[in-house]
Structure formats: C-alpha cells, structure tokens
C-alpha cells in the first residue's frame, strides 16, 4: 500500500502539481518501466549515472542495458534481474512523471529515497498489504480525530484501500481527507446499524462510476445506468461486510448492514464525524464519504 501513498507524498512535497499527477495517473496504463528507473529504485545506480548512460547511448548503437554494463554501472546479472522486476505502481508513477518531463531522474531518486526513509520502508514493504502495515500507514497519514470512533475510521479506511487493490486495481493515489459540505450527486449509499451507526457513500462522476463498475464486474460497461449502480453498490456492500466481520472478530460488536440505495442528489452537510476521502484512479476520482 506504500505504493499508493507515494503519489500523495509527491504532492505534499510539492514535487508535482495535482493537475500533473492527475494527467500522469491517466497515462500510467501505457507507461513502460525503463531500466534507469528500475536501477535507481534497486539502488544499483544513481540518477546521475542513468543520465550519463542515456547520453552515451545517443552516441553508440547499443541497447541501454549494454551501455550501462559497458560503463561499469551494472553487471549483466543485475540487468537480467531488473528486467524481471514486476512493475510496481510507485515505479510506474515515477516513470510516467519522468517521461512527461514533470520530474527528472534525480528528483525521482531523491523523492523515492526520502519517502523510504521517512516511512522506514524497504523495497519489500512497498507491496506489503498486511493489516498491520495498512493500518499503521493510514493512521499516520490521516490521523483521524473523531473521538472514540477514530480507530474504527482507521480500520475502515485501511480495509477500503485493501479492497480497492483487491477488487478494482492498484493504480490509485489516496488524497487528503476533506470535510463534508453541500450536496453531492450520483452516489451510492449504505447505512450501517447495530453496534455502530455509520453512513458510507461512494460518489463519482458518470465516467468514473462506469469505469469503477466495469473493473469490479469485470465487464465492459458503457452507460451510467441501473446495472452500473448495482455493481458499485455491491462493491460497497462487500467492503462493509468485510468491515463488519473484522469488527465482530476484533471487538465482538455486531453490525447490521442496510440495503444500499442510489441517490441523484444528496445533502451531506449535516453528516456527523464525517470526511470525504478522494481516491484518484487512472480513470478519474472516486470519493468515499464516511460518517461514523
């Protein structure tokens, strides 16, 4: 899950603007990882060495891996190992930013190293989606302060990100939480009763709703219709069900889920202990609104 928060870290460090991040997230699908970014991430090369290798490649008719070996920056074994690396989200994001000219290899190297240091994470931790790692990251990042329900909120949001990775995809960046206000349109709502009273909402524009539903249903949907709403509703139902199981197992508190509803418009200004968590996917932003 550290992968997903890397984009947010770049925003906080003002290394990338929200507009550029949004643009780059959309182009990530077609981004191909290059050897330089992989070598920087693995700690085999510095950004300066990568730049030198790229400059050299313009003068010789060789592949970049061969140039890097010839220049003594990498061994053949390291090149082979790097080419086998699975493309992680944070690397694809970095590559897309470099490809679009929004960041240099040096800036990427510095940002990646500071991010790893500040969060005490190793490369292996990047895709660690264990409950403890997720909860710790979410707690540190959002620092929810809504009294006795703060730990429920942390649990809810960390499970949400895990379920997004599981059911929708890992190409997203969680954004800062925002206070609720005004009206929203085109949203799916599920209330939770029993030992905890909560309202959970998914809100997005039509295009993001259709893509979100398509990914969840594993079908190519084209219209923001009743079927699309049913798919998004089922995602929130599954997520809330898993949350209810966790709460029951951990605290013995039993939750009751109510049937999901769809609203064209909904006033959310009166929701108590509520926040909006926008999640930027490559296809658009989906807002998760939680009131506990």
């Amino acid at each position: 899950m550290f992968t997903q928060f890397f984009g947010n870290y770049l925003l906080h460090q003002q290394l990338v603007s929200p507009e550029h991040l949004s643009e780059v997230l959309q182009s990530m699908k077609t981004t191909r990882l290059k050897l330089g970014v992989l070598a920087i991430n693995a700690g085999y090369m510095t950004a300066e060495q990568v730049e030198k290798a790229h400059t050299e490649q313009q003068r010789v008719d060789k592949r970049i891996g061969e140039v890097m070996v010839d220049m003594g920056f990498l061994t053949k074994d390291q090149v082979e190992e790097l080419f086998k690396t699975q493309p992680s989200g944070h690397l694809l994001l970095g590559q897309a930013l470099v490809d679009n000219g929004y960041m240099t290899n040096t800036q990427f190297e510095q940002a990646l190293n500071s991010y790893k240091q500040e969060n005490s994470i190793s490369e292996a931790d990047f895709n660690d989606n264990s409950d403890d790692a997720a909860a710790k990251l979410v707690k540190n990042f959002y620092n929810f302060n809504i009294g006795e329900n703060s730990s429920y909120m942390t649990g809810y949001v960390s499970l949400l990100f895990k379920n997004l990775i599981r059911f929708i995809g890992d190409d997203f960046t969680p954004m800062d939480a925002k206070p609720v206000s005004g009206e929203i349109s085109n949203c799916v709502v599920q209330r939770i009763a029993g030992g905890l009273s909560a309202i959970t909402i998914i809100d997005a524009d039509s295009n993001a709703m259709i893509e979100f539903a398509s990914r969840f249903a594993k079908e190519e949907l084209t219209a923001d219709d009743e079927y699309t709403q049913a798919c998004v509703s089922e995602f929130i139902n599954l997520h809330n069900g898993l949350f209810a199981v966790n709460v029951s197992n951990e605290t013995g508190v039993e939750l009751k889920l109510e049937p999901q509803c769809y609203y064209d418009n909904m006033d959310i200004s009166e929701l108590k202990n509520a926040c909006i968590i926008p999640v930027c996917f490559s296809f658009g932003t989906v807002n998760f609104i939680i009131s506990l």
């Binding site: 079927y227 798919c231 509703s233 139902n237 069900g241 029951s248 039993e254 889920l257 049937p259």
Partner: protein
C-alpha cells in the same frame, strides 16, 4: 439434470452473476426475485428445488423470507448469502433453517458444489 433454482438478491448485478453460475452448474430452470417478499410469493407459485437468498434486502430481509418459506414448506432448500460472514449471521441463518451459507463474493465453484449436493 432437472433442477429449478430461484435466485433472490436486490442487486441486478448479483442476480446476473448468480444466474450465470447456476446455469453453468446445470440448473434446468432459473427464477429471479428482487426482494424477500417476491421470493416468498414466487416460491409459493413456482416451488423451486433450490433457492439462493441474499440476507440484506429491502421490503423483507432474506432471513424473514426464509422463515416464511420454511413455514410454508419445511423441506425447502434455501441457501443464504451475505457479505457479512460473521458467526452471528451464520447462526441466525442456521436457526431459521438455512440449507447452507455462502459468503459474498460468491465463487462459482461453491454454487456448483451446492447444486450438485441438492440434486442428489
């Protein structure tokens, strides 16, 4: 295999997925219901051999529908399905006479196993 199966869920997405899974497992006829009351009415009219019933539904919940169906036909085979797979929900479904319990998201293999068991 001659097996009439009713799929009851308020989500048209889940009904579609369930119908596909039930058809792939060899059911000869499939009926749909979108809430607990429809499930009761259609059960009485159609007498399906097996029912897959969501718990969280409007109008009448799955457990309420199960209770009424069992009162009408004590041999009814009703499989309860829910995203909330807690011991509490499982116990409630069993106490109400459920034939089996499935946690969502429902795997096609689990549907096939239940259909195979019900047709024996």
């Amino acid at each position: 295999m001659s097996l009439k199966v009713m799929v009851c869920d308020d989500s048209m997405f889940v009904r579609k997925k369930m119908k596909d899974a039930v058809a792939a497992a060899g059911a000869s006829e499939i009926i749909e219901a979108a809430d607990g009351q429809q499930a009761i009415d259609k059960y009485k009219a159609e007498k399906p051999d097996l029912v897959f019933m969501d718990i969280i539904m409007p109008v009448k919940s799955g457990v309420e529908a199960l209770t009424e169906i069992k009162a009408f036909d004590s041999n009814a085979k009703v499989v309860m399905a829910s995203s909330v797979g807690t011991q509490e929900n499982l116990k409630e479904a069993i106490m109400a006479g459920a034939y089996d319990f499935l946690q969502k998201p429902i795997a096609n293999e689990d549907v096939a196993k239940i259909i195979s068991k019900a047709s024996q």
